[in-house]
């Protein structure tokens, strides 16, 4: 057995947590003093890091499948263990069926399937910011689904305080009551003038184009979102596939 092989056995003992405190200390001292040994140590550490990354990635995929399954149906309080184990398999099967059954659809239908109003996560009362009666009324009406009233109030509010959160909700409220051209302008402004929520604005802008039947514009934005690394990417790719 050559020296390198001995060193590797030593490193395996270290990384497999089979050394006592003294042995570990001696090994770490050698890492400091012995350059070739340090290189072997770093390589071993890197490979184990890559293994851990793969494990994390697999579990991330599992949680994503679980989340998708939870969104589809509420979890029964009994047989949860079975549910968890089956979640990934069911999700996989559902995705496969959805892909097989997916056919080019009517843009309006696709809009209806994919549009969900953005949640009101901007309510300033929660963040301890100063509010006015107009603020409270606008957010309350939005949350209660009184979109026509909310759109007027949010429009007035945005004129007073040009805030990206208000503009996001305004665009959504306009879209909900069928004022698509106004919604489009809201999302274009959000995308062009603000640094936050611009990517979310692109998603909603693509839905506006679908609603008005401008499929080419919608596809252009969806393609851009689909090629990005953001959380809307998979949804955008899925929708793009259906628009084609």
């Amino acid at each position: 057995m050559d020296t390198t092989e001995n060193d590797i056995l030593l490193l395996e003992k270290f990384f497999d947590e089979e050394m006592n405190a003294t042995e570990r200390e001696q090994l770490m001292q050698r890492v400091k003093d012995d350059e070739p040994f340090k290189a072997l140590f770093e390589r071993e550490k890197l490979l184990i890091t890559a293994i851990r990354h793969e494990g994390l990635k697999n579990n991330l995929g599992y949680l994503q499948s679980l989340e998708a399954a939870m969104a589809r149906e509420p979890i029964a309080t009994t047989s949860r263990r079975w549910y968890y184990l089956a979640a990934a398999a069911i999700t996989g099967a559902l995705v496969a069926v959805a892909v097989l059954l997916s056919r080019p659809s009517d843009p309006e239908q696709l809009f209806q399937s994919y549009f969900t109003p953005y949640p009101n996560v901007f309510d300033p009362t929660v963040r301890g910011e100063q509010t006015t009666p107009l603020h409270s009324e606008a957010f309350q009406d939005y949350e209660q689904g009184h979109y026509s009233k909310a759109a007027d109030e949010l429009g007035a509010l945005y004129k007073e305080h040009p805030d990206p959160g208000v503009l996001m909700l305004l665009g959504n409220a306009n879209l909900m009551v069928g004022r698509v051209e106004e919604a489009k302008q809201n999302f274009i402004t959000l995308n062009d003038k603000f640094d936050s929520l611009d990517l979310q604005a692109k998603w909603y802008l693509s839905l506006c184009y679908l609603k008005t039947g401008d499929v080419e514009q919608a596809k252009k934005i969806l393609k851009e979102l689909g090629e990005s690394d953001i959380s809307y990417a998979s949804k955008a790719r899925e929708l793009l596939e259906k628009v084609k």
Binding site: I8, I48, L60, M70, R80, L85, S231
Partner: protein, 192 residues
């Protein structure tokens, strides 16, 4: 109670991961959405990373006892992820989860590791194939004992599983070294 949860996750698998995910999901998503102006999708991305880090800390033996509640601990991780993402991007941007996990591991374990070496290690792991990949993952990520691995992967006995694990690691090193010597990958480094 807290130690029971930790023990449950430490000795468990994906079913326990799913259980903890569901346990705090609703409360966490509501809180992070309001606090950091995240959409529902963005909040879920952060929550998934939070649960993975919590799970990983327990598996790696970094978290054995909790002085606070699990909820406080999870909210703390979530807050750090949201703030770190805002700081890096100078604004709120949806998180690229895989990239985030990679940076988390590199920061955590490999001081000064170049990302290109990490990518080569990942390529080597892909080339390693099954069942080796599963075996080393069970050992180094899931922290299963050799006896547990022998049972799960149907090896004759723990010694056979241990030998197999050593052989797989030897193959992985060899593939990695070959990757490093490919002309497009040759850069000055300290791994040889």
């Amino acid at each position: 109670m807290q130690s029971e949860i930790i023990e449950k996750i430490r000795s468990g698998g994906q079913a326990e991961l799913a259980w903890i995910y569901e346990e705090y999901r609703q409360e966490f998503l509501h809180w992070i959405g309001k606090e950091y102006r995240c959409s529902s999708d963005d909040s879920k991305d952060i929550y998934q990373l939070t649960i993975l880090i919590f799970h990983d800390n327990i598996k790696q033996g970094k978290l054995e006892h909790l002085v606070s509640s699990v909820k406080t601990y999870l909210f703390g991780i979530g807050k750090n992820i949201a703030l770190e993402n805002m700081r890096k991007e100078k604004r709120y941007t949806p998180i690229n989860q895989e990239k985030w996990l990679k940076e988390y591991l590199i920061d955590d374990t490999s001081q000064g590791t170049d990302e290109s070496f990490f990518d080569m290690a990942k390529t080597a792991l892909e080339k390693l194939g099954q069942p080796c990949q599963k075996l080393v993952e069970m050992f180094y990520y899931e922290k299963k004992t050799i006896t547990e691995i022998a049972t799960a992967m149907q090896y004759k006995n723990p010694e056979t599983a241990k030998n197999q694990k050593c052989k797989c690691m030897a193959r992985l090193r060899k593939i990695f070294d070959t990757e490093m010597t490919k002309p497009q990958n040759v850069v000055p480094h300290g791994y040889h």
